[in-house]
């Protein structure tokens, strides 16, 4: 169980512009000092937001990582849903998912629509 190491890396990455540069230059190499499984390394390199959410990465840490990768908000939410659909419920931690896979929890305001059910799930 090395979820701690995954989160420690992301915590440090989120804080450090120089580590962000290293990550962008050599995603695998920058992970070497951390005690990670192959599954975790792959998820951090890709990045696989859905897998990281499923593994139990704290949402606040993961949200920053997604923003760093310029992943648009609705796409970010969908990637987490896709991760749950593919891999199953969040393995541990308090940032889980209680809504259904097809629920629209926070629709985007659409000034052209009469109803409030519009959404833009994909980037």
């Amino acid at each position: 169980m090395t979820l701690y190491a995954v989160q420690k890396f992301l915590f440090e990455l989120n804080r450090s512009p120089s580590l962000q540069e290293q990550y962008l230059a050599d995603r695998t190499g920058v992970l070497e000092p951390y005690d990670l499984t192959g599954e975790e390394t792959d998820a951090l390199v890709e990045p696989d937001i859905g897998k990281l959410f499923h593994l139990g990465v704290n949402g606040q840490i993961l949200m920053r990582f997604a923003a760093f990768h310029q992943i648009e908000w609705q796409d970010y939410l969908q990637r987490m849903r896709d991760g749950i659909a593919e891999h199953g419920p969040v393995r541990e931690g308090v940032y889980a998912m209680t809504t259904g896979l097809d629920d629209v929890v926070a629709p985007v305001h659409d000034p052209a629509a009469n109803t409030n059910d519009s959404t833009e799930r994909t980037a």
Partner: protein
């Protein structure tokens, strides 16, 4: 001097970062209330503003997680998030190391706290400052209560910490304002983002306005998690402000769910007498 201003507000990153996705009517009403709180804060002429925020792993991690931490620097940096994502440019924010040091020294007489001479601000502080002190002209003393990494700060310790803050403000000659930031019920940074328990929020804010210690402490983490999500753990910051305000009653100026912002957007203040400014 007794604290000159006390209030609470939301800090969700969507408030600035996803502004274009919200219904402009309710969004702008919220923004107006938020800015009015800033006007009232600055009218109290604070020498420093203590911002009690639930930070989100910008500075503290599970390798060394304090229950309470207070910043002690002349300058801070923020936001830690991607500026275009948050909708707030990265910048330096003024602090006041001397006031912080004396403030911390007083708080420590009654509460055990960590201090930090480095602090990167995340949305928990940057979003409120964007509305409250848009010119960044009031020194900030950042404060964190652990609402993120379990085991969390117990609620009754947050209350005691708030009392220590109130005492510390009274002991210092400076005019100190206290702001608590956070969500009430919310499920942030998950696919549940946007889920809001409005009834729970209104009940909590009723307890906050009454400044009813027993009612504010009558929660347990499991029930909060079920009814108000992991974001609901941030009630610790509001409880801290309630205790700091020393029994004052409060007024809610704005409380409306805005799901794309992920919270019941909240602006509330305590009705406390503002001491006259000195003639120096």
């Amino acid at each position: 001097m007794p604290l000159v201003f006390a209030g609470v507000c939301s800090h969700a990153p969507g408030i600035t970062g996803r502004a274009h996705m919200a219904d402009p009517e309710v969004r702008d009403s919220f923004y107006a209330a938020f800015r009015q709180m800033g006007d009232d804060l600055r009218a109290a002429e604070p020498d420093a503003v203590v911002i009690i925020a639930a930070e989100h792993f910008a500075n503290f991690f599970m390798n060394n997680m304090p229950s309470f931490a207070i910043g002690m620097s002349d300058s801070y940096e923020g936001p830690i998030e991607d500026p275009s994502w948050l909708g707030i440019e990265r910048r330096d924010i003024p602090g006041d190391r001397d006031v912080s040091r004396r403030f911390i020294t007083e708080v420590m007489q009654h509460s055990d706290v960590a201090y930090a001479e480095e602090w990167k601000f995340d949305h928990g502080i940057m979003v409120p400052l964007h509305f409250l002190t848009p010119d960044y002209d009031v020194p900030v003393i950042p404060v964190n209560v652990n609402c993120q990494g379990p085991p969390l700060t117990p609620l009754h310790r947050a209350w005691a910490f708030g009392e220590s803050i109130g005492r510390a403000c009274a002991a210092l000659p400076e005019r100190i304002a206290v702001i608590g930031t956070g969500g009430i019920s919310h499920w942030p940074a998950t696919p549940d983002s946007g889920q809001i328990n409005e009834a729970w929020d209104r009940d909590f804010m009723d307890r906050w306005c009454r400044n009813d210690r027993n009612a504010l402490l009558d929660y347990d983490d499991l029930t909060v998690y079920t009814d108000a999500g992991q974001g609901g753990f941030e009630i610790r910051t509001f409880i801290t402000v309630a205790a700091a305000a020393g029994g004052a009653s409060g007024t809610v100026h704005f409380l409306e769910p805005i799901p794309i912002f992920a919270v019941s957007c909240t602006v509330a203040t305590y009705d406390i007498p503002v001491p006259a400014t000195s003639t120096t």
